[in-house]
């Protein structure tokens, strides 16, 4: 060993990381510009940095780590995005994952954040078309399912607490939604498609059609379901902090129709949301202030 040429610890770590995270494997990693900037001698004489064993060359030993890096993270993405993968096909999915990981290497100790930018990455990088469009929407749902799985716990409002909100208080009452709720406005009927995949395997790629999905956790179980467009708009308004009155006005207010029918629909939606445990708190604003 030539001590004068022994790399410093931080250089060696940066170099090894650049090599084993290289998407084409260890040898392209050793020859890559970032690795050569750190340890130029490694590209000329790799054994001066990493020793071979009796059975393996230096590059084969580095490749063990390079292989494990992608294998481990791919395994996680495969687990988190089963239907996205089914839509794209295993090979195209893996290609997309490798490009994603090369572009967005993990920056978090906790792996549940690994793929937070994956749906947006797919939206930017997949070739245009219905298959990709559906895949992006399904990926958004699958990511939301990951997030609500880990979301903070919150006690949902009981039916009695709901019932206690008098109609006269609607101008002043805001509802807090649970942290484990995501609202997704989608371009494809992605939730329906996921149900069909669960049911019989290989459904056709549907035509584009706007859909409105919610993903939420009830207890420790994760659910997803579609909402009617107006229902979704109302829930989104409530989740953004509008009072009950303002939310209703903003989502269904301008519509012509039978007032009784509207009241019946509102009642049904609130019962559905309450049963799903989507609200965790009631905030009553002091009287006198009204939001328009």
């Amino acid at each position: 060993m030539n001590l004068a040429r022994a790399p410093r610890l931080d250089t060696l770590e940066r170099w090894m990381q650049a090599v084993v995270m290289h998407p084409q494997g260890a040898m392209p990693g050793v020859r890559s510009a970032p690795a050569r900037r750190l340890l130029p001698q490694a590209a000329v004489d790799l054994d001066s940095v990493v020793l071979p064993s009796k059975a393996l060359s230096a590059v084969e030993r580095l490749d063990i780590y390079a292989h494990m890096y992608y294998a481990r993270l791919l395994e996680i993405l495969v687990e988190e995005y089963p239907t996205t993968r089914q839509i794209l096909g295993a090979e195209a999915f893996e290609r997309a994952c490798r490009r994603f990981l090369a572009r967005h290497p993990s920056r978090h100790r906790i792996l549940n954040r690994l793929s937070e930018r994956f749906p947006a990455f797919l939206a930017r990088h997949l070739p245009r078309g219905p298959r990709s469009g559906l895949a992006v929407d399904v990926a958004r749902i699958e990511r939301a399912m990951e997030e609500v799985f880990d979301a903070p716990r919150a006690e949902p409002l009981t039916a009695a607490q709901f019932g206690a909100i008098g109609a006269d208080a609607w101008q002043r009452v805001r509802l807090a939604v649970i942290p484990g709720l995501r609202l997704l406005k989608l371009r494809y009927p992605a939730n329906d498609h996921m149900n069909a995949v669960r049911g019989k395997g290989q459904p056709r790629i549907p035509r584009p059609r706007a859909s409105f999905a919610i993903v939420y956790r009830r207890g420790y179980q994760v659910f997803r379901r579609d909402q009617e467009p107006v229902q979704f708009r109302l829930l989104a308004a409530l989740a953004s902090g509008a009072t009950l009155a303002a939310a209703v006005r903003g989502s269904v207010g301008g519509r012509r129709g039978n007032a009784d029918e509207l009241a019946a629909r509102l009642g049904a939606w609130f019962r559905e949301w309450a049963a799903a445990g989507l609200f965790s708190g009631i905030e009553r604003q002091a009287t006198g202030r009204r939001r328009r």
């Binding site: 931080d10 064993s53 059975a55 580095l62 063990i64 890096y69 792996l111």
Partner: protein, 288 residues
């Protein structure tokens, strides 16, 4: 096979025989409260989440002693120490009343990235000084000894100036940290680096060892990979027996993380350690 009784420096208890807590067994454990002396958890699986796993862990921690073992502390990294992460570890340790907590003698990422793997440090004087100072900082902050495990390694840096076991021994003594001796990793590392596992074991300062890991691995002929996907091989059991003779008994844990079998298979496999431990079987059944 009676051995000398050599207590560890902190008088941390020999917890008996345990297994790594895995999601697949949450239901079985909370429905049957099976006989098991203790569980080890992967710390990162219960941080930044308030989901189902934590819900089960809370219940399990009421019934069994819990030890926290991490993979992301990155003690050997040249990045700054992440005190926010230490706070999260400490909070989890309080929550589950962790008997001890630890990680690996390795680094997992640098320059803000994370490879989610256990990368070897060069076994140099510089590497050793760096690890010692980091371990001291972390121990001072957590106000408890850090229990650090020898990882399985697959490469050797040309700049290394001492064998792994010497690096570990000096780290333990000079940083005054505790060791988790993974005898399967000793086997795998020695196979991969053409070293003698018995010489490796003989260099370990056993008063610093508080825990032992057992696991299966994959033998690829040219090298072994620490896959934790099967039973413990005979050679590794022999190493375990040797450690037991040197220590007189340390908390023993079976790791089985891939192709995870049903819980009784784990009980049976870790139970094999009893023949090296003067016949001491798993004693605790939490079904009280």
């Amino acid at each position: 096979m009676t051995g000398a009784s050599l207590p560890n420096r902190w008088k941390l208890p020999d917890l008996g025989l345990g297994v790594g807590l895995r999601t697949q067994h949450f239901r079985h454990i909370t429905e049957h409260w099976p006989a098991m002396d203790w569980f080890e958890i992967l710390s990162e699986n219960f941080i930044d989440t308030e989901g189902r796993p934590l819900h089960f862990l809370d219940q399990i921690a009421e019934h069994y002693p819990i030890v926290m073992h991490g993979v992301c502390l990155s003690v050997g990294s040249t990045d700054p120490v992440d005190f926010g992460f230490l706070d999260k570890l400490a909070a989890l340790a309080r929550r589950v009343k962790a008997v001890w907590l630890g990680d690996h003698i390795c680094w997992t990422g640098v320059a803000g990235l994370n490879g989610h793997d256990l990368y070897p440090v060069p076994y140099t004087e510089e590497g050793l000084r760096h690890m010692i100072s980091r371990v001291r900082i972390i121990q001072d902050y957590l106000e408890r000894p850090l229990v650090l495990e020898n990882p399985s390694t697959y490469l050797t840096f040309a700049s290394s100036s001492m064998p792994e076991e010497e690096f570990i021994a000096r780290l333990a003594v000079e940083a005054d940290c505790a060791l988790l001796l993974d005898v399967n990793n000793v086997y795998v590392t020695c196979r991969n680096h053409d070293l003698d596992p018995l010489a490796y074991l003989d260099a370990i300062p056993y008063e610093h060892v508080v825990q032992v890991h057992l696991a299966g691995h994959t033998d690829n002929g040219t090298h072994c990979i620490d896959t934790h996907d099967g039973r413990v091989i005979d050679e590794v059991w022999q190493l375990y027996g040797r450690v037991h003779r040197k220590t007189g008994g340390r908390a023993t844990l079976l790791e089985w993380d891939a192709n995870v079998p049903k819980f009784p298979v784990l009980q049976q496999e870790v139970g094999k350690a009893a023949r090296f431990r003067n016949g001491t079987k798993i004693v605790t059944s939490a079904a009280a």
